[in-house]
Symmetry: C2
Subunit: 438 residues, 2 copies
C-alpha cells in the first residue's frame, strides 16, 4: 500500500512497516512476531484489539504465530506446491464464504483463560480484518460455519419406529435433520494451555519440541510468539436448532462431546459403543430441539466431535491394544481393560479433556441441561470450567454391542457415570470379549 | 548392553557404538542418521537388511528418521509428557500385539520405488528386530493388524431386503461382517516420494519445510536422513475374506479406495455421495468375498480408507467452499463446482493419489477385478502403478442424495468414470443444489 492511498478506516493495528513500501523494521511490542508482524493481545474484548493471527508461508515478516493453517493438512498443501499444482503465492478468495450464522461475541471470548485452544474470532476474519487483508496480510479463517442436511440410518429407523416425529423444520419426512455445522482448527495460546496442564510455559514448549522429534524449533527459540497452530486434527460442531439459543441458559440444551473413533463411527466395529452412543445422542438432540417444554419455544441440541482417534493414541496403537486384550491369559476382561492400554501406550488415555470445553465457551454455553455422556473426565472438565450440567444421559443397554460390554464395565468401574450399579472386582471378571479367531 | 552379554544372534546391523557402553561415535554410512543410529537401506529384500526405523524421542543418538511416530498424535503424546501423565522413557510393551494375519513379504516390498509412503516391515518389528529391541533400541510398529466384526445399518438393510445372504462365516445372521483390519501410519522415503511428484528431492524437502511454516528443519539440514514420519493421518484397510488371497490374481478382488469425509461418512450429510458409495462398496466387497465363481473358493474384498478430509484441504476449507457454492450468483451448479474450490483453496483437490497405490502393493495386489470407484485420478494412479483393473463399478443412481447431484455431474464431466452419458456444458447448469436457507 502506498502512503497516499491510506484506507478510509485507519488501520489501528497496522505497524508502520505495513503502511510503507519501505519497511522500517521496528519491533512493535513484546508480543509482536517480528518486523512487520501485527501484535496479538489474546483475550482482548474486540477482534481489532486482539489483532489477526497470521500464519502465512508467503511473507515471513508478517508471521505472528508458530506453525501454519489447516492443522496437519499443511503437509498436503506443501506437497501441492512441490508438485507444481498450487502457487505458493495463492491467497484464499473469501467471497461468499462468510458464516451462515453469527456466533458471539460472548463474554467468555474476552477472558484469556477461558478459550485457549481455538481463535474465537476465527470465523469472521474477512469482516474483522478487512483493512489488514486489503493491506496485503494473508489472514485465513480458522473456523467455518455452514448449513447441512444430515441423513443417518439410525435416525430414519427412529422415525419409522415412532421415536422421532418429522416436523418439516428440524426433521424432515424421510429422516433428514437440519443442522448448522462448524469446523474449527486448533489455535493454541501457549501461556494458558500450559496452565491447563499444570506446567510452566517453558516446560510445555520444550516438551512439545522434544517429544515430537524436533518439530518447530520456534517453540523454544521464539518465546515472543505465544500462539501455536499445531498440525493436529480439529473439531466439528453440529447444532440442531438455533445456534443463538446455545448461549441462553433458559433454553434446554442437549449435548454430547464425542471423540472420534473411525472404526465404530464409520465402520460399526462392535468392540466399543462409539457410533451407537453418537447416534443415540443425535436422536436425543433432535428430540431436545423439538421439545416444547420451555414455553413452547423448543430447545437446542449440540454434538461436538473431536479428532482424537483411539484416545488420541492413533489407530495403530489402538489395534495393538485390541490384540493384546484378546490374547492375554484369561481373555478380554474388564478388569484388565485399562492395564493393556497402559502397557502398550504408557497411559490409559491421551485425549485430555482439559481443552475440550473451549468450544462450548465459544458458543456461549453456560448450562447443559442434558449431557449425553457417561465420561467422568468430560463431566469434570465441563463443570470445572464453569458450565452447569443438569442430568447425564447414559447409553441405553440395548444399544451396547455384546463385545463392547468389557469396555463399558471397565469404564463404569473407573468412574464413568451410570444410573445403575457400579461393577465390583468380581463383576469385572465376568464379561468376556470375543477372541481373535471368532 | 555390556560386552560380556552379547546376544546369541549377532546383531549384524548394529553399529559398534550400540554394542559398547562407550560409543565410539563413528559415522557408519552415508545413510546413517548419526552416531549410534542404524542404517536404513530402503527397498532391501529382507527386514534385517533394510534395518529398523527409529523415531524415538528418548535417545537422540539412535534416531535415523525425521519426525516421530503416531502421525499428528505425537503432539498429544507431548502433551501427556508435559502434563506428567506419561514418562518420556516409556517403551511400548509389545506382548501379544503381533498381527493376527501375516501379510507378505511380497516381491513389491523389495522395489524401493513401489512402496514409498509406508514401511512394509512396520507390522513385524517385534519379530524382525528382536535383537535391536533387546539392545535397547526403541522401535515401534507403524502398522497393526487385527480382527473385527463390523455392523453397518446399510448392511443390515441389505440382508433384510435379500441383497446379501448371511453365510455364518463372512456375514453373520444379524448383519455383522467379519473383517481383518489394518492401521497404517505414514512413513515417507523422501527420494522416491519426490519422484512420484516429479520434483527433485531437494525441492521437496525445502518446500515441505517452508510451506508448513518451518516444521522440521532437518528436512533441509539433514540430507543424510531419507525417511520422514510426517504428522498427518494414516490409513485403515478393511479386508473381507482371507488377506492372503489379495495377492493371488486368480481370486476375484472387489476393492474401493476411499478418502475420508467425516460429514458424510459419519454424519450422513447429503451434499456428497461419500457414505452411500462407501457402504455400497462394503456390500459389493461382502458379495465378492462370498462369490463362488472362481472354482467355488470365493473371492476377497478390500476397503482402503485414507485420512484426507475434505480433499486433504481440511474441513474448514471444505465448509467455506460449501458456502461459496451455495451463495454464488445462479446458485450451486455443476459447471461452477471445481471453480469455487479453486478460488478458496488454490487447487481443485489436494488428495494426490500418487501415494495411494502403496498400500495395495504392500498387500501384494496385482489385479483388482472390480474397482468400486468412479475417480479417474484413483484409476490412473492404480493402473499407472502396474496393477490391472477389470471393471469399474459406479454408484447406483438411487444412492445419490438429491443435493449431491451437482458434485456427481461435475465429476463425471471432469473425467470420472460413468457407464452412462457424460454431462455436457448445458447439462452441467441444470442440476442445482439446495440454497443455504432451505
Amino acid at each position: 500500500m502506498s502512503e497516499d492511498a491510506a484506507p478510509a478506516v485507519a488501520p489501528a493495528a497496522l505497524p508502520p512497516s505495513a503502511q510503507s513500501p519501505h519497511p522500517r523494521h521496528i519491533r512493535l511490542t513484546s508480543h509482536s512476531g517480528g518486523f512487520g508482524a501485527l501484535p496479538i493481545r489474546w483475550g482482548a474484548v474486540t477482534a481489532r484489539e486482539r489483532g489477526p493471527l497470521v500464519g502465512t508461508t508467503t511473507n515471513r515478516a508478517h508471521r505472528n504465530v508458530i506453525g501454519t493453517h489447516s492443522g496437519s493438512y499443511s503437509v498436503y498443501r506443501a506437497l501441492a506446491v512441490a508438485a507444481g499444482a498450487l502457487s505458493r503465492e495463492h491467497k484464499a478468495d473469501l467471497t461468499n464464504t462468510a458464516p451462515t450464522d453469527v456466533i458471539g461475541p460472548y463474554p467468555q471470548w474476552a477472558d484469556p483463560g477461558k478459550i485457549v485452544s481455538m481463535d474465537p474470532w476465527g470465523a469472521e476474519v474477512a469482516r474483522e480484518y478487512a483493512t489488514e487483508l486489503a493491506a496485503g496480510y494473508d489472514i485465513r479463517p480458522t473456523i467455518a460455519v455452514t448449513k447441512a442436511h444430515v441423513i443417518l440410518p439410525e435416525v430414519i429407523e427412529a422415525v419409522q419406529k415412532g421415536r422421532l416425529k418429522p416436523d418439516g423444520k428440524l426433521l424432515l419426512e424421510g429422516g433428514a435433520a437440519l443442522v448448522t455445522k462448524v469446523a474449527v482448527e486448533p489455535v493454541w495460546y501457549l501461556p494458558e494451555v500450559a496452565k491447563r496442564f499444570g506446567c510452566s510455559e517453558t516446560d510445555l514448549r520444550r516438551v512439545l519440541f522434544e517429544e515430537t522429534g524436533g518439530m518447530y524449533p520456534e517453540l523454544v527459540t521464539r518465546s515472543d510468539l505465544d500462539v501455536f497452530l499445531p498440525p493436529i486434527g480439529g473439531q466439528t460442531v453440529y447444532i440442531f436448532g438455533d445456534p443463538r439459543d446455545l448461549a441462553n441458559p433458559e433454553v434446554e440444551l442437549t449435548a454430547r462431546v464425542h471423540d472420534e473413533c473411525n472404526g465404530s463411527d464409520v465402520f460399526g466395529s462392535d468392540i466399543c459403543t462409539c457410533r451407537p452412543y453418537l447416534t443415540h445422542a443425535i436422536e436425543e438432540c433432535i428430540l431436545g430441539a423439538q421439545a416444547q417444554e420451555a414455553g413452547g419455544r423448543g430447545g437446542v441440541g449440540l454434538v461436538a466431535y473431536s479428532r482424537k482417534e483411539g484416545r488420541a493414541l492413533g489407530e495403530v496403537t489402538k489395534f495393538l491394544v485390541y490384540n493384546a486384550r484378546k490374547r492375554q491369559v484369561g481373555g478380554d476382561t474388564a478388569d484388565q481393560y485399562f492395564a493393556r492400554t497402559e502397557c502398550v501406550a504408557g497411559v490409559q488415555d491421551m485425549r485430555f479433556q482439559e481443552l475440550m470445553p473451549d468450544v462450548l465457551h465459544w458458543l456461549g454455553i453456560r448450562k447443559i441441561h442434558r449431557l449425553v455422556s457417561m465420561s467422568n473426565m468430560k463431566y469434570d472438565a465441563i463443570t470445572g470450567s464453569g458450565i452447569e450440567v443438569g442430568v447425564r444421559v447414559n447409553i441405553p443397554d440395548e444399544l451396547i454391542p455384546a463385545d463392547a460390554r468389557v469396555e463399558m464395565d471397565a469404564k463404569m468401574a473407573a468412574g464413568y457415570f451410570t444410573p445403575g450399579a457400579v461393577p465390583d472386582a468380581e463383576e469385572l471378571k465376568k464379561a468376556k470379549g470375543r477372541g481373535l479367531d471368532a
